[in-house]
């Protein structure tokens, strides 16, 4: 089944995320692909995440294809103008990369090339519409294209964004622009998330809740205080700070597994997107803790 068919199947969808290396040593990335490709429905490859120059997302997606997995190409608008974005989409399609996550991209200034120019010629909504145009065999200049392309288009949303209203308008613009699935920013407060889902259910899109692995109380506190759109409830921070030294990761796996199980049990959303940043090797443990032991199709 394609990822699109899995989304439409009504089954609880699981995606995870891998990060390309800083350089040409692909061993660890390939190891993560090998470890996860049969345990999740699709694997995102980040696109110079946090504006740090790395091996490209396209290269990571090709590696997933070569190993028999299903990639989701993360594509930001930060580093490429509309000519380069369209060309990469055409290339991706010809190599069997059919799922695109459209993102604005982090600011250049948070990354490691602080003097680089941020392009942002398109924004995430315009990128979604650009893909729509390619699917109609037209480029953004209105010229005809040979061959056909069809993608499964995704976008992101931040359910805990503050203020929420401007974010909701953007979410709806993404829906109007053809987004078929959304992977959310990390969510930790399931009651808040359920309220977001009450709203999101009004739209014909699939929502995968973002699950970011917490590894310590310190990390949880840092995220809730500093990362835009992330709220970690105090009881989770307390739960993490209550464990013996060295057991934070285990507790984090337990929390993530518990949350995934609850989301699935209560059919709160359509699936989850697991981001175990720098801890990709424990994703199978998280899925096991969630009771999701089965291999995917």
């Amino acid at each position: 089944m394609t990822f699109k068919q899995i989304l439409d199947s009504g089954n609880f969808v699981v995606t995870a995320e891998i990060a390309p290396p800083k350089g040409t040593d692909l061993e660890q990335m390939n190891h993560h692909i090998d470890l996860l490709k049969d345990k999740v429905d699709a694997l995102n490859v980040t696109d110079h995440q946090s504006s740090v120059m790395r091996f490209p997302s396209l290269g990571g997606c090709l590696a997933i294809k070569e190993q028999g997995g299903e990639p989701i190409l993360q594509m930001t608008c930060r580093d490429r103008n509309q000519i380069a974005l369209q060309a990469d989409l055409l290339f991706a399609y010809t190599r069997g990369i059919k799922n695109i996550l459209c993102l604005t991209g982090d600011a250049i200034t948070v990354g490691d090339h602080k003097q680089a120019r941020g392009i942002f010629e398109l924004d995430s909504v315009q990128l979604l519409r650009a893909i729509d145009s390619l699917e109609e065999s037209k480029d953004l200049a209105g010229n005809d294209l040979t061959g056909k392309v069809t993608f499964c288009k995704g976008a992101i949303v931040t359910p805990e964004a503050e203020p929420w209203e401007p974010q909701s308008y953007k979410f709806e613009k993404k829906v109007d622009a053809g987004a078929e699935f959304f992977q959310t920013q990390a969510v930790y407060d399931l009651a808040n998330f359920a309220r977001f889902m009450d709203y999101a259910r009004r739209f014909p899109v699939k929502i995968l809740a973002g699950i970011v692995l917490l590894t310590s109380a310190k990390m949880a506190k840092y995220m809730t205080d500093n990362v835009p759109g992330i709220f970690v409830p105090q009881d989770l921070i307390d739960e993490l700070s209550g464990v013996p030294k060295g057991s934070g990761l285990q507790k984090g796996i337990e929390i993530a597994g518990r949350m995934i199980a609850a989301l699935k049990q209560d059919s709160i959303c359509d699936g989850v997107h697991v981001m175990a940043i720098n801890r990709e090797e424990v994703v199978p443990d998280i899925l096991e803790a969630a009771g999701l032991n089965g291999q995917v199709d």
Partner: protein
């Protein structure tokens, strides 16, 4: 409206002056004076510093508005001192520096970096208000320009970095789309938040941009 400038590091000024030993200094009485980057005080400070560094300062002046055509006459008043110099250091913006190039046959060296066109929001606080993109959308955005007020120049709403109404790059800066949302709400025009903005045309007027207004007042674009 003011051209916002910042004085270059002294080391960089010295590097530009490596080829010469006699300097004439030009300040500007308009923007650079208000910004305290190229008024009389800064010109005199730089004169002292250059003298301490061993330069002969043949003279100095602060031209009322260095970017306008009166600069020719102002430069003429100091002809002897300018002729005595082998480098002209200017504490005017880049427009002033280029205007001086029209009239002087000596190298004109910028002592300032030109940053942006600023609107004085409050006394002493200049904000970048316009990117001169040639496709004004202020009518849809409650008069707040997201091209300049959003760090990424987004058109269709906030990015995921927006945080409690502030910007991810600087928690002291407002998120443009929170400002736009709030003002549209006050104006009872929130429907405009739904308006889809297509990609901007980056070639509305291809660079270098030139406009000619002929004597009959007829516009020509080159």
């Amino acid at each position: 409206m003011k051209t916002i400038t910042r004085q270059k590091p002294y080391e960089e000024i010295l590097q530009q002056l490596e080829f010469c030993n006699r300097v004439f200094i030009v300040g500007c009485g308009t923007c650079a004076t208000v910004l305290q980057t190229g008024g009389i005080e800064q010109v005199l400070e730089l004169k002292e510093k250059l003298q301490e560094s061993g330069f002969l300062v043949t003279g100095w002046t602060v031209i009322p508005t260095a970017c306008d055509e009166m600069t020719a006459a102002s430069a003429g008043e100091h002809e002897a001192a300018i002729q005595g110099a082998n480098g002209i250091l200017t504490l005017a913006c880049a427009l002033g520096a280029q205007r001086l190039n029209f009239y002087l046959d000596k190298p004109v060296l910028p002592g300032l970096d030109t940053l942006f066109i600023g609107l004085e929001e409050q006394p002493g606080c200049f904000m970048e208000a316009c990117d001169q993109c040639g496709q004004c959308i202020l009518g849809y955005t409650a008069g707040i320009c997201p091209v300049t007020a959003c760090h990424k120049g987004l058109l269709n709403g906030p990015c995921g970095g927006t945080n409690k109404g502030k910007c991810e790059v600087d928690s002291d800066r407002d998120c443009a789309f929170t400002l736009i949302y709030n003002r549209l709400k006050e104006q009872d025009r929130l429907d405009l938040m739904k308006h889809y903005h297509p990609p901007r045309n980056a070639q509305v007027s291809p660079r270098p941009r030139v406009k000619i207004l002929d004597q009959k007042g007829i516009e020509q674009w080159v």
